[in-house]
């Protein structure tokens, strides 16, 4: 969408949020480092199978998740992803 078009027709705005189906996975990636959360029952299953209770990924290493967050914060993905949790729903609605 060109700048001319936006000036002439301000109602033709670009959508500022992500599609609904994108929100949860992206928020999880930023908050957990992975798409699914690791629930306690699965940790127990891992243990019974003889593998480490926590996988050696961001599930175990909080600093890895922090590094990912730093990288994502450099892009506008971060703002879009955390939109649903902000207290500015009123602005969204009207």
């Amino acid at each position: 969408m060109s700048d001319d078009e936006l000036t002439l027709y301000p109602w033709r705005k670009k959508v500022k949020t992500l599609p609904e189906s994108f929100k949860d996975p992206i928020e999880n990636i930023i908050r957990v480092g992975h798409v699914p959360k690791l629930v306690v029952t699965r940790e127990k299953v891992r243990e019974t199978l003889g593998i480490n209770r926590k996988p050696p990924t961001a599930y175990k290493h909080e600093d890895a998740r922090e590094e990912l967050e730093k990288l994502v914060k450099d892009t506008d993905l971060y703002d879009k992803a955390t939109w649903s949790d902000r207290d500015d729903k009123t602005e969204d609605e009207g």
């Binding site: 969408m1 078009e5 002439l8 033709r12 959508v15 992500l18 599609p19 189906s21 994108f22």
Partner: protein, 158 residues
């Protein structure tokens, strides 16, 4: 056909490789509207009515002499073909939403968008079509018109 014309890029679709994931449509609608909405995609994939395990598609071929451009009644034309790249686009500021192009195109590529009151069509994503770039199986590819012609001729000889 001139050499310059044959060098221009177009999309080719290989139904034998298509898995029907529709990701091309999702990436298209996201690129243009930031939505994951099949109805807003500039490219269309449909299940083949005769064989449900196969798919067929409809995408803009950016014709040498676009019938949509010819049908466009505005002056100057809202639909224009770039002579260098061969890309046919609708200028959304000039489009009056008369739908002439929708009916003129033999494969109904231009689609009327109710919310904006204008028609839209494939703009080749400024030379880097997202549908082909992100195609899950490689069924959609960007090739030169020459390669596309040869591929299609080879297919029709089979």
């Amino acid at each position: 056909m001139s050499d310059d014309f044959l060098k221009q890029k177009v999309l080719v679709y290989n139904p034998e490789k298509c898995s029907g994931c529709y990701y091309c449509m999702i990436s298209c609608s996201f690129y243009h509207f930031e939505e994951a909405d099949l109805d807003k995609a500039y490219i269309r994939i449909y299940p083949d009515a005769n064989d449900p395990t196969s798919f067929i598609n409809a995408h803009c071929t950016h014709c040498e002499h676009p019938i949509c451009e010819a049908a466009c009644p505005t002056e100057p034309k809202a639909i224009k073909r770039d002579p260098d790249t061969g890309i046919v686009t609708i200028d959304r500021l000039r489009c009056i939403g008369c739908k002439s192009c929708n009916f003129a195109c033999p494969i109904s590529v231009p689609i009327f968008e109710k919310a904006l009151g204008i028609s839209y069509k494939c703009d080749f994503c400024d030379g880097d079509p997202r549908c082909a770039k992100y195609c899950s199986t490689g069924a959609l590819q960007v090739v030169s018109r020459k390669e596309a012609k040869e591929t299609m001729e080879a297919k029709s000889d089979e």
